[in-house]
Symmetry: none
Subunit: 167 residues, 2 copies
Amino acid sequence: MYKYTRTDMKNRNERLMEIRRLIGSRNISSQDELIKILEKQGYEMTQATLSRDLKYLKVAKMPDDQAGYVYILPDKEQVVEAAELSGRGLSGLISLNFAQGMAILRTLPGHASSIAYTIDNLDAYEISGTIAGDDTILLIPRDGVSRSDLVNLLQLRMPGLLQGASH
Amino acid sequence: MYKYTRTDMKNRNERLMEIRRLIGSRNISSQDELIKILEKQGYEMTQATLSRDLKYLKVAKMPDDQAGYVYILPDKEQVVEAAELSGRGLSGLISLNFAQGMAILRTLPGHASSIAYTIDNLDAYEISGTIAGDDTILLIPRDGVSRSDLVNLLQLRMPGLLQGASH
DNA sequence: TCAGTTCGTGTATATTTATACATTTGGAAT
DNA sequence: ATTCCAAATGTATAAATATACACGAACTGA
């Protein structure tokens, strides 16, 4: 017994638009998750149909630090960017990486120097010095200081800084 | 019996970069397909590891009219970047040198930050970050990335940049 | 040195997603 | 009107992908 027929196009188009809207407005990690949301809104469908809808809409599934995987719209201006931003710490720090024995901190544009200034003023033993660009800070640790030492220091002395930052 | 150990990081980094290169240069529709290509190039791995690699590299899978589904890099459109670049005439680069595992780019006075900004926006895997002064850019490569990797990257993603620059 | 930790990985499996096939029905063609 | 076709979908399953667990090597700190 089939419930939907060709005359339900209006229904389908509505659903497709709602799917787009949902994916653009929040992080969704699986088709099952999306189906449950749609069901609450009165859309009834199976996973197979949703799979086809997503293909039709050219929705991609992309790894994400917070959610594991999220669906993203094919548009140029990815809503993901904004979502990721809003999910990040208030301090402006985006990520903390280590390379060549140094720490590289990426920040929101324009935030680097103020964060670096604060770090400098910790007068921390572990830190030899910092250099800030516009959105990047190079942090040179004292010799022998480990990555975890630095992370610990920053978490201890600047609580909230690493909130939401990937590292 | 495990074939790879932690000291094979070079191998892993190589593999990650090769995966990026492959995905950027042709349409690949499944992990199995990618594994077969990698195997022909001498990389041995299981599907599980490839799945983790793709997650690490933030590679997304997107519906495609021709191939059904294709993997895409997390970067902004590469070709667009290149076009923007040539349009802006970012040819203020004077020289490219390597020291202490990092790259030092000398530019015409005042050109450093705009070039660094463009480099940052490549979101290149190979680059941990950049810091720009007035006429100097410090580029910190990701661990395991070689000089030639970097030169290749810049030539590929920013054609024209190295034109006339000594290195 | 030695215990504890982290990392990269394989194995096996769970989870997730895509699709072959069947079915219904409105509309098109004759 | 009758027949045919195409779209949309469900069902069942195949295919693809992610991950829990374990392991061994390398690093860390004491």
